[in-house]
Symmetry: C2
Subunit: 189 residues, 2 copies
Protein backbone atom coordinates (compact mmCIF):
# COMPACT_ATOMS: atom_id res chain seq x y z
CA UNK A 1 0.00 0.00 0.00
CA UNK A 2 1.01 3.56 -0.61
CA UNK A 3 0.79 6.34 1.95
CA UNK A 4 -0.34 9.37 -0.07
CA UNK A 5 0.19 12.38 2.15
CA UNK A 6 0.40 16.13 2.04
CA UNK A 7 1.35 18.45 4.88
CA UNK A 8 0.54 22.12 5.48
CA UNK A 9 1.68 24.74 7.95
CA UNK A 10 -1.02 25.52 10.46
CA UNK A 11 -1.49 29.12 11.52
CA UNK A 12 -4.72 28.70 13.48
CA UNK A 13 -5.47 25.26 14.92
CA UNK A 14 -8.78 26.36 16.43
CA UNK A 15 -10.10 27.70 13.10
CA UNK A 16 -9.17 24.48 11.27
CA UNK A 17 -10.78 22.38 13.99
CA UNK A 18 -14.01 24.30 13.45
CA UNK A 19 -13.81 23.82 9.66
CA UNK A 20 -13.33 20.09 10.17
CA UNK A 21 -16.40 19.90 12.35
CA UNK A 22 -18.38 21.93 9.78
CA UNK A 23 -17.22 19.46 7.10
CA UNK A 24 -18.59 16.57 9.24
CA UNK A 25 -15.11 15.17 9.96
CA UNK A 26 -15.07 12.65 12.82
CA UNK A 27 -12.49 12.97 15.63
CA UNK A 28 -11.25 9.36 15.93
CA UNK A 29 -8.22 9.76 18.20
CA UNK A 30 -6.36 12.26 20.34
CA UNK A 31 -2.97 11.12 21.58
CA UNK A 32 0.70 11.69 22.13
CA UNK A 33 3.17 10.01 19.75
CA UNK A 34 6.88 9.60 20.33
CA UNK A 35 9.03 8.43 17.42
CA UNK A 36 12.61 7.23 17.72
CA UNK A 37 14.26 7.40 14.30
CA UNK A 38 17.13 5.10 13.38
CA UNK A 39 19.73 5.28 10.62
CA UNK A 40 21.04 2.22 8.78
CA UNK A 41 24.61 0.90 8.74
CA UNK A 42 24.64 0.25 4.97
CA UNK A 43 23.11 3.51 3.72
CA UNK A 44 22.23 6.98 4.96
CA UNK A 45 18.44 7.24 5.14
CA UNK A 46 18.73 11.04 4.95
CA UNK A 47 20.23 10.58 1.44
CA UNK A 48 18.08 7.64 0.29
CA UNK A 49 14.95 9.37 1.68
CA UNK A 50 13.93 6.32 3.69
CA UNK A 51 13.03 6.11 7.37
CA UNK A 52 12.94 3.53 10.11
CA UNK A 53 11.26 4.45 13.35
CA UNK A 54 9.91 2.99 16.55
CA UNK A 55 6.65 4.76 17.37
CA UNK A 56 5.16 4.74 20.85
CA UNK A 57 1.51 5.62 21.41
CA UNK A 58 0.97 5.26 25.15
CA UNK A 59 2.02 1.67 25.90
CA UNK A 60 1.72 0.55 22.27
CA UNK A 61 4.80 0.19 20.05
CA UNK A 62 5.04 0.08 16.28
CA UNK A 63 8.00 -0.41 13.99
CA UNK A 64 7.70 1.45 10.69
CA UNK A 65 9.75 1.47 7.52
CA UNK A 66 9.06 4.25 5.02
CA UNK A 67 10.37 4.07 1.47
CA UNK A 68 11.58 7.06 -0.58
CA UNK A 69 8.97 9.70 -1.42
CA UNK A 70 7.46 9.37 -4.91
CA UNK A 71 7.41 13.13 -5.27
CA UNK A 72 8.38 16.01 -3.00
CA UNK A 73 4.98 17.68 -3.10
CA UNK A 74 2.71 14.98 -1.71
CA UNK A 75 5.30 12.96 0.24
CA UNK A 76 3.66 9.75 -1.05
CA UNK A 77 5.70 6.70 -0.14
CA UNK A 78 5.64 3.02 0.62
CA UNK A 79 4.91 2.38 4.29
CA UNK A 80 5.39 -0.90 6.14
CA UNK A 81 4.24 -0.77 9.76
CA UNK A 82 4.30 -3.74 12.14
CA UNK A 83 2.86 -3.75 15.66
CA UNK A 84 5.34 -4.74 18.39
CA UNK A 85 4.60 -6.02 21.90
CA UNK A 86 3.53 -3.25 24.28
CA UNK A 87 5.47 -1.50 27.00
CA UNK A 88 8.73 0.33 27.56
CA UNK A 89 10.78 -2.87 28.05
CA UNK A 90 9.67 -4.24 24.67
CA UNK A 91 10.48 -0.90 23.02
CA UNK A 92 13.97 -0.92 24.53
CA UNK A 93 14.51 -4.54 23.41
CA UNK A 94 13.74 -3.67 19.80
CA UNK A 95 16.03 -0.63 19.92
CA UNK A 96 18.77 -2.85 21.39
CA UNK A 97 18.33 -5.48 18.68
CA UNK A 98 18.64 -2.84 15.95
CA UNK A 99 21.70 -1.42 17.70
CA UNK A 100 23.34 -4.87 17.47
CA UNK A 101 22.51 -4.88 13.75
CA UNK A 102 24.40 -1.60 13.39
CA UNK A 103 21.49 0.88 13.40
CA UNK A 104 22.03 4.16 15.22
CA UNK A 105 19.50 6.44 16.94
CA UNK A 106 19.18 9.73 15.07
CA UNK A 107 16.57 11.75 16.93
CA UNK A 108 13.18 11.58 18.62
CA UNK A 109 10.09 13.38 17.36
CA UNK A 110 7.38 14.00 19.96
CA UNK A 111 3.98 15.36 19.13
CA UNK A 112 0.37 15.72 20.25
CA UNK A 113 -1.94 14.55 17.49
CA UNK A 114 -5.67 14.86 16.87
CA UNK A 115 -6.84 12.49 14.14
CA UNK A 116 -9.97 13.23 12.14
CA UNK A 117 -11.56 11.04 9.49
CA UNK A 118 -13.51 12.23 6.49
CA UNK A 119 -14.87 10.35 3.44
CA UNK A 120 -14.40 11.82 -0.02
CA UNK A 121 -14.56 10.30 -3.50
CA UNK A 122 -14.54 6.71 -2.27
CA UNK A 123 -11.52 7.23 -0.01
CA UNK A 124 -11.23 7.66 3.74
CA UNK A 125 -8.90 10.54 4.54
CA UNK A 126 -7.06 10.88 7.82
CA UNK A 127 -6.45 14.46 8.84
CA UNK A 128 -3.90 14.88 11.62
CA UNK A 129 -3.60 18.13 13.59
CA UNK A 130 -0.09 17.94 14.98
CA UNK A 131 1.68 19.98 17.60
CA UNK A 132 5.31 18.89 17.31
CA UNK A 133 7.79 19.68 20.10
CA UNK A 134 10.50 22.10 18.92
CA UNK A 135 8.93 22.21 15.44
CA UNK A 136 5.45 23.75 15.54
CA UNK A 137 1.87 23.13 14.37
CA UNK A 138 1.07 21.35 11.12
CA UNK A 139 -1.76 19.41 9.54
CA UNK A 140 -1.25 16.22 7.55
CA UNK A 141 -3.85 14.87 5.11
CA UNK A 142 -3.37 11.23 4.28
CA UNK A 143 -4.92 8.43 2.23
CA UNK A 144 -3.59 4.88 2.31
CA UNK A 145 -4.34 3.46 -1.13
CA UNK A 146 -3.20 0.82 -3.62
CA UNK A 147 -0.41 2.11 -5.89
CA UNK A 148 -2.68 2.21 -8.96
CA UNK A 149 -5.00 4.72 -7.26
CA UNK A 150 -2.22 7.18 -6.52
CA UNK A 151 -3.42 9.93 -8.88
CA UNK A 152 -7.05 9.83 -7.69
CA UNK A 153 -5.95 9.83 -4.03
CA UNK A 154 -3.60 12.78 -4.57
CA UNK A 155 -6.32 14.81 -6.35
CA UNK A 156 -8.77 14.18 -3.51
CA UNK A 157 -6.17 15.31 -0.95
CA UNK A 158 -5.62 18.61 -2.78
CA UNK A 159 -9.38 19.14 -3.16
CA UNK A 160 -9.98 18.64 0.58
CA UNK A 161 -7.00 20.88 1.44
CA UNK A 162 -8.55 23.64 -0.71
CA UNK A 163 -11.94 23.07 0.95
CA UNK A 164 -10.22 23.60 4.34
CA UNK A 165 -8.39 26.72 3.14
CA UNK A 166 -4.94 25.16 3.47
CA UNK A 167 -2.23 26.49 1.14
CA UNK A 168 1.20 26.61 2.85
CA UNK A 169 2.57 23.21 1.79
CA UNK A 170 5.47 21.87 3.87
CA UNK A 171 7.37 19.10 2.12
CA UNK A 172 9.89 18.27 4.85
CA UNK A 173 9.30 15.50 7.38
CA UNK A 174 9.14 16.42 11.07
CA UNK A 175 12.50 14.67 11.49
CA UNK A 176 14.04 16.83 8.77
CA UNK A 177 12.58 19.95 10.36
CA UNK A 178 13.81 18.93 13.81
CA UNK A 179 17.32 18.17 12.55
CA UNK A 180 17.30 21.42 10.55
CA UNK A 181 16.42 23.27 13.77
CA UNK A 182 19.21 21.49 15.66
CA UNK A 183 21.75 22.53 13.04
CA UNK A 184 20.65 26.18 13.18
CA UNK A 185 20.77 26.21 16.97
CA UNK A 186 24.19 24.57 16.88
CA UNK A 187 25.37 27.24 14.46
CA UNK A 188 24.55 30.21 16.68
CA UNK A 189 25.86 28.85 19.95
CA UNK B 1 23.66 -11.99 28.96
CA UNK B 2 25.79 -14.64 27.35
CA UNK B 3 24.45 -17.84 25.85
CA UNK B 4 27.06 -20.46 26.81
CA UNK B 5 26.34 -23.51 24.70
CA UNK B 6 27.89 -26.75 23.58
CA UNK B 7 26.45 -29.20 21.04
CA UNK B 8 27.06 -32.93 20.56
CA UNK B 9 26.12 -35.45 17.92
CA UNK B 10 23.45 -37.79 19.15
CA UNK B 11 23.69 -41.46 18.21
CA UNK B 12 20.91 -42.80 20.43
CA UNK B 13 18.16 -40.37 21.44
CA UNK B 14 16.31 -43.00 23.52
CA UNK B 15 19.40 -43.81 25.60
CA UNK B 16 20.11 -40.14 26.33
CA UNK B 17 16.47 -39.54 27.26
CA UNK B 18 16.78 -42.34 29.84
CA UNK B 19 20.03 -40.88 31.23
CA UNK B 20 18.34 -37.49 31.59
CA UNK B 21 15.47 -39.04 33.55
CA UNK B 22 17.97 -40.94 35.73
CA UNK B 23 19.77 -37.63 36.38
CA UNK B 24 16.42 -36.09 37.54
CA UNK B 25 16.23 -33.73 34.56
CA UNK B 26 12.78 -32.18 34.08
CA UNK B 27 11.11 -32.22 30.66
CA UNK B 28 9.86 -28.62 30.39
CA UNK B 29 8.80 -28.41 26.74
CA UNK B 30 8.34 -30.47 23.62
CA UNK B 31 7.74 -28.50 20.46
CA UNK B 32 8.46 -27.75 16.84
CA UNK B 33 10.63 -24.75 16.00
CA UNK B 34 11.00 -23.14 12.61
CA UNK B 35 13.74 -20.54 12.12
CA UNK B 36 14.02 -18.21 9.13
CA UNK B 37 17.56 -16.88 8.93
CA UNK B 38 18.32 -13.53 7.32
CA UNK B 39 21.54 -12.03 6.02
CA UNK B 40 22.42 -8.34 6.34
CA UNK B 41 22.93 -5.81 3.54
CA UNK B 42 26.05 -4.27 5.13
CA UNK B 43 27.95 -7.42 6.10
CA UNK B 44 27.88 -11.17 5.49
CA UNK B 45 26.77 -12.86 8.73
CA UNK B 46 28.42 -16.10 7.53
CA UNK B 47 31.78 -14.24 7.67
CA UNK B 48 31.15 -12.12 10.78
CA UNK B 49 29.68 -15.17 12.58
CA UNK B 50 26.50 -13.33 13.53
CA UNK B 51 22.91 -14.42 12.97
CA UNK B 52 19.48 -12.85 12.69
CA UNK B 53 16.50 -15.13 12.71
CA UNK B 54 12.75 -15.14 13.06
CA UNK B 55 11.79 -18.16 15.18
CA UNK B 56 8.26 -19.57 15.20
CA UNK B 57 7.12 -21.86 18.00
CA UNK B 58 3.52 -22.69 17.16
CA UNK B 59 1.81 -19.29 16.86
CA UNK B 60 4.55 -17.47 18.82
CA UNK B 61 7.22 -15.44 17.01
CA UNK B 62 10.61 -14.27 18.26
CA UNK B 63 13.25 -12.15 16.63
CA UNK B 64 16.78 -13.08 17.66
CA UNK B 65 20.17 -11.53 17.03
CA UNK B 66 23.23 -13.62 17.88
CA UNK B 67 26.68 -12.08 18.11
CA UNK B 68 29.94 -13.78 17.04
CA UNK B 69 30.93 -16.89 18.99
CA UNK B 70 33.51 -16.30 21.73
CA UNK B 71 35.19 -19.59 20.92
CA UNK B 72 34.46 -22.37 18.44
CA UNK B 73 34.24 -25.11 21.05
CA UNK B 74 31.40 -23.89 23.24
CA UNK B 75 29.65 -21.61 20.74
CA UNK B 76 29.16 -19.03 23.53
CA UNK B 77 27.79 -15.77 22.18
CA UNK B 78 25.75 -12.70 22.91
CA UNK B 79 22.05 -13.32 22.34
CA UNK B 80 19.34 -10.67 22.04
CA UNK B 81 15.84 -12.14 21.66
CA UNK B 82 12.66 -10.09 21.46
CA UNK B 83 9.13 -11.51 21.40
CA UNK B 84 7.01 -10.41 18.44
CA UNK B 85 3.23 -10.45 18.09
CA UNK B 86 1.83 -13.93 17.41
CA UNK B 87 0.61 -15.47 14.20
CA UNK B 88 1.68 -16.03 10.63
CA UNK B 89 0.61 -12.56 9.45
CA UNK B 90 2.81 -10.86 12.08
CA UNK B 91 5.73 -13.14 11.12
CA UNK B 92 5.34 -12.21 7.45
CA UNK B 93 5.13 -8.48 8.33
CA UNK B 94 8.46 -8.62 10.16
CA UNK B 95 10.10 -10.52 7.30
CA UNK B 96 8.72 -7.92 4.87
CA UNK B 97 10.04 -5.02 6.98
CA UNK B 98 13.53 -6.55 7.06
CA UNK B 99 13.32 -7.15 3.31
CA UNK B 100 12.71 -3.40 2.82
CA UNK B 101 15.78 -2.73 4.98
CA UNK B 102 17.83 -4.88 2.60
CA UNK B 103 17.93 -8.16 4.54
CA UNK B 104 17.69 -11.36 2.52
CA UNK B 105 16.29 -14.76 3.52
CA UNK B 106 19.08 -17.33 3.65
CA UNK B 107 17.46 -20.57 4.73
CA UNK B 108 14.95 -22.12 7.13
CA UNK B 109 15.90 -24.56 9.89
CA UNK B 110 13.06 -26.78 11.13
CA UNK B 111 13.38 -29.05 14.11
CA UNK B 112 11.52 -31.01 16.77
CA UNK B 113 12.92 -30.13 20.18
CA UNK B 114 12.54 -31.65 23.65
CA UNK B 115 13.79 -29.27 26.34
CA UNK B 116 14.99 -30.61 29.69
CA UNK B 117 16.11 -28.59 32.69
CA UNK B 118 18.68 -29.64 35.23
CA UNK B 119 20.34 -27.70 38.10
CA UNK B 120 24.09 -27.96 38.61
CA UNK B 121 26.59 -25.76 40.47
CA UNK B 122 24.17 -22.88 40.94
CA UNK B 123 23.16 -22.78 37.26
CA UNK B 124 20.06 -24.02 35.46
CA UNK B 125 21.06 -25.92 32.33
CA UNK B 126 18.77 -26.34 29.36
CA UNK B 127 19.34 -29.56 27.50
CA UNK B 128 17.71 -29.69 24.07
CA UNK B 129 17.24 -32.96 22.20
CA UNK B 130 16.90 -31.84 18.61
CA UNK B 131 15.80 -33.65 15.52
CA UNK B 132 16.65 -31.25 12.71
CA UNK B 133 15.13 -31.71 9.24
CA UNK B 134 17.82 -32.55 6.63
CA UNK B 135 20.52 -32.37 9.32
CA UNK B 136 20.03 -35.09 11.97
CA UNK B 137 19.87 -35.56 15.73
CA UNK B 138 21.89 -33.45 18.15
CA UNK B 139 21.82 -32.40 21.77
CA UNK B 140 22.55 -28.85 22.92
CA UNK B 141 23.52 -28.01 26.50
CA UNK B 142 23.05 -24.37 27.36
CA UNK B 143 23.42 -21.93 30.23
CA UNK B 144 22.40 -18.29 29.97
CA UNK B 145 24.75 -16.42 32.33
CA UNK B 146 26.29 -13.01 32.94
CA UNK B 147 29.53 -12.54 31.01
CA UNK B 148 31.69 -12.72 34.16
CA UNK B 149 30.46 -16.25 34.90
CA UNK B 150 31.47 -17.59 31.50
CA UNK B 151 34.25 -19.92 32.75
CA UNK B 152 32.18 -21.49 35.53
CA UNK B 153 29.21 -21.99 33.17
CA UNK B 154 31.42 -23.58 30.51
CA UNK B 155 33.01 -25.97 33.04
CA UNK B 156 29.58 -27.05 34.32
CA UNK B 157 28.43 -27.73 30.75
CA UNK B 158 31.41 -30.01 30.08
CA UNK B 159 30.92 -31.79 33.42
CA UNK B 160 27.25 -32.52 32.66
CA UNK B 161 28.13 -33.63 29.11
CA UNK B 162 30.62 -36.12 30.58
CA UNK B 163 28.00 -37.30 33.08
CA UNK B 164 25.65 -37.99 30.15
CA UNK B 165 28.35 -39.79 28.16
CA UNK B 166 28.46 -37.17 25.38
CA UNK B 167 31.75 -36.77 23.52
CA UNK B 168 31.22 -36.02 19.80
CA UNK B 169 31.29 -32.21 19.88
CA UNK B 170 29.72 -30.43 16.89
CA UNK B 171 30.80 -26.82 16.60
CA UNK B 172 28.75 -25.82 13.55
CA UNK B 173 25.34 -24.22 13.83
CA UNK B 174 22.34 -26.03 12.33
CA UNK B 175 22.24 -23.34 9.66
CA UNK B 176 25.88 -23.99 8.75
CA UNK B 177 25.21 -27.72 8.62
CA UNK B 178 22.10 -27.22 6.50
CA UNK B 179 23.90 -24.92 4.06
CA UNK B 180 26.84 -27.33 3.95
CA UNK B 181 24.44 -30.13 3.07
CA UNK B 182 22.79 -28.03 0.38
CA UNK B 183 26.17 -27.32 -1.24
CA UNK B 184 27.09 -31.02 -1.28
CA UNK B 185 23.72 -31.99 -2.76
CA UNK B 186 24.04 -29.25 -5.34
CA UNK B 187 27.47 -30.56 -6.26
CA UNK B 188 26.36 -34.10 -7.07
CA UNK B 189 23.20 -33.25 -9.00
Amino acid sequence: MLEVEVKYQLADTGALRQKLLDAKARLVAERKESDDYLNAPDRDFARTDEALRLRRIGESNFLTYKGPRHDRLTKSRLECEVPCPSGEEAAQSFLKLFEHLGYRAVSSVRKSREIYEIDRGGFTLHICLDNVEQVGSYVELEIVAPEEQYTQARDILFAVAAELGLNQIENRSYLEMLLGRAVVLGGVQ
